[in-house]
């Protein structure tokens, strides 16, 4: 998960995103959902890229396929 992240980004898994209070807290941040295959994990994982407020989105650069 951490290696998905490019500079000044946080990647969280679906399990984190769905945890109580997390979505409400992240309301003010730009969130980019996507799917990723992690090494050693057979199933594709839903992940969320959280962009920090002081940078622009770099969709795609971090290796996550974002929804069309």
């Amino acid at each position: 998960m951490q290696e998905l992240a490019d500079s000044r980004e946080v990647y969280v898994s679906e399990e984190i995103y769905q945890a109580p209070g997390v979505q409400e807290f992240l309301g003010k941040f730009e969130i980019i959902p996507g799917k990723a295959h992690l090494k050693g994990i057979h199933t594709e994982m839903q992940v969320y890229k959280i962009l920090s407020s002081d940078r622009e989105s770099v969709d795609g650069r971090a290796g996550v396929q974002t929804p069309a």
């Binding site: 951490q2 998905l4 898994s13 984190i16 799917k35």
Partner: protein, 442 residues
């Protein structure tokens, strides 16, 4: 005011405790007032979460307070495994080293897998040099406590709650038909009127258990049952009982005192599927091990040898420095090392402020654990801000952080003499580095 306190020693420890970190005003005074409590039980298995709520101290500060105070010799730390069905303290240990991967409740006759999440509590008892309590000597505790206190202040946790919110100890008290000590060689008779169900109980001092079904037609005349306690177990002269009047004659053939606790469980009670107890908030082992102060002050507290302890859910945060190889080339190893150390300090401060703990550093990467995923997310976003400030102060953009967070089950183990974690959850939180290429998800 209690008079059996070594006031000089207490003063010395409290003076050191004040210097251990900065505390909210009156926090130490609140602790001192507790130590002077006249009630010995108030100083036995102190629950820091309850202390926090009762004394209006934050939970994080209360946990820190007891950890620092323990390190200075004011308290002893105890790890207890609770039976989820009856609330008995099935095992109690002075150190995490002694905790095993499963445990057994004598009363319920059930094994349970040890898990740091729900039924493993950590509490603090005043240290004997500061103030001696009868609870410090479990081998002679029965000489100082009533049998009721033995069971409800020592044997069972006082935190257990039934599904209706009733204290589980009150329910056990109501179910108890026999609650009595039995001296070595002594015989005692108890006259009961049994209804259909099961006679169920134990001797909590010898860890002996007895369960006899009660059924069939009610007895016309009073029954008599002889039960002998010998060699750590009960021996009865029948395998079943009839409803109705009965004289139970207990004989203690051991060389030490016995503490009888027997209930008559109705058929209705037995038909219910055991749902397990809730517990009033306590300091769970999971929360403790994700506290930075615990990891800093108790580095020798880890899981024994090849043992592992289950954790149903833990949140892991991994950070790494982007472009660190180029950074080392650009500014040299010496400066890069100093920079990495500085960034570790910044990360530690933020992670600690959000109730997390650094498990380890791997090169210039950090692995941290959190009991609560929300805390991890808040910490991650503050880490980015902190590193941004860090770079601005240095007038460069040398430190660029990447962060990943995931939660799930894992096991606590010992690696390199440190408490560590193992499992797929950790792999997911950290792994992707070797295969990921920009713009493509492999």
């Amino acid at each position: 005011m209690a008079t059996d306190i070594d006031e000089k020693l207490l003063d010395e420890i409290l003076t050191d405790l004040e210097k251990a970190r900065s505390w909210t005003p009156r926090t130490i005074a609140k602790l001192e007032s507790l130590i002077h409590s006249e009630d010995e039980f108030a100083l036995f298995r102190i629950n820091p979460i309850r202390f926090a709520n009762e004394k209006n101290v934050s939970e994080a500060e209360a946990i820190d307070l007891f950890l620092h105070a323990t390190r200075l010799g004011l308290f002893q730390m105890d790890w207890q495994l609770l039976c989820p069905l009856c609330g008995a303290i099935a095992n109690s240990f002075n150190s995490l080293h002694d905790v095993h991967s499963d445990y057994f409740c004598t009363l319920c006759q059930r094994s349970a897998e040890t898990s740091m999440d729900d039924y493993m509590q950590v509490s603090f008892t005043i240290a004997p040099p500061v103030r001696k309590l009868v609870f410090h000597r479990p081998e002679s505790i029965q000489e100082h406590l009533s049998v009721d206190d033995f069971y409800f202040k020592y044997f069972f946790s006082e935190n257990g709650l039934t599904t209706t919110g009733e204290k589980s100890n009150d329910q056990l008290r109501a179910l108890a038909k026999i609650s009595s000590y039995l001296e070595p060689g002594q015989t005692k008779t108890f006259d009961l009127d049994l209804s259909a169900g099961r006679l169920w109980g134990l001797d909590g001092l010898h860890q002996a258990h007895l369960s006899l079904p009660i059924g069939g037609e009610p007895a016309v005349t009073s029954q008599h049952l002889w039960i002998r306690l010998a060699e750590g177990e009960f021996q009865a002269d029948t395998a079943s009982l009839f409803p109705g009047k009965i004289s139970l004659e207990f004989e203690n053939r051991t060389s030490t005192k016995a503490a009888l606790f027997f209930m008559c469980l109705s058929e209705d009670y037995l038909r219910k599927t055991p749902t397990g107890l809730q517990f009033a908030p306590f300091l769970s082992a999971k929360r403790l091990v994700t506290t930075q102060t615990f990891r800093d002050l108790f580095r020798n507290e880890y899981v024994h040898g090849a043992e592992s302890i289950n954790i149903k859910e833990m949140t892991f945060l991994f950070t790494d420095l982007k472009g660190s190889t180029a950074l080392y080339d650009r500014i040299g190893d010496l400066k890069a090392f100093a920079l990495v150390q500085e960034h570790f300090e910044s990360l530690t401060k933020v992670i600690q402020n959000h109730s997390g703990a650094i498990v380890k550093t791997i090169g210039d990467a950090v692995m941290a654990s959190f009991a609560n995923p929300f805390d991890a997310v808040r910490a991650a976003l503050e880490l980015l801000e902190e590193i941004s400030r860090f770079n601005k102060m240095r007038g460069s953009e040398d430190v660029i952080l990447k962060i990943g967070i995931h939660r799930g089950p894992c096991i606590a183990v010992t690696l390199n003499d440190c408490l560590d974690y193992f499992g797929q959850t950790i792999n997911i939180a950290s792994r992707c580095k070797s295969w990921l290429t920009p713009g493509k998800c492999t």
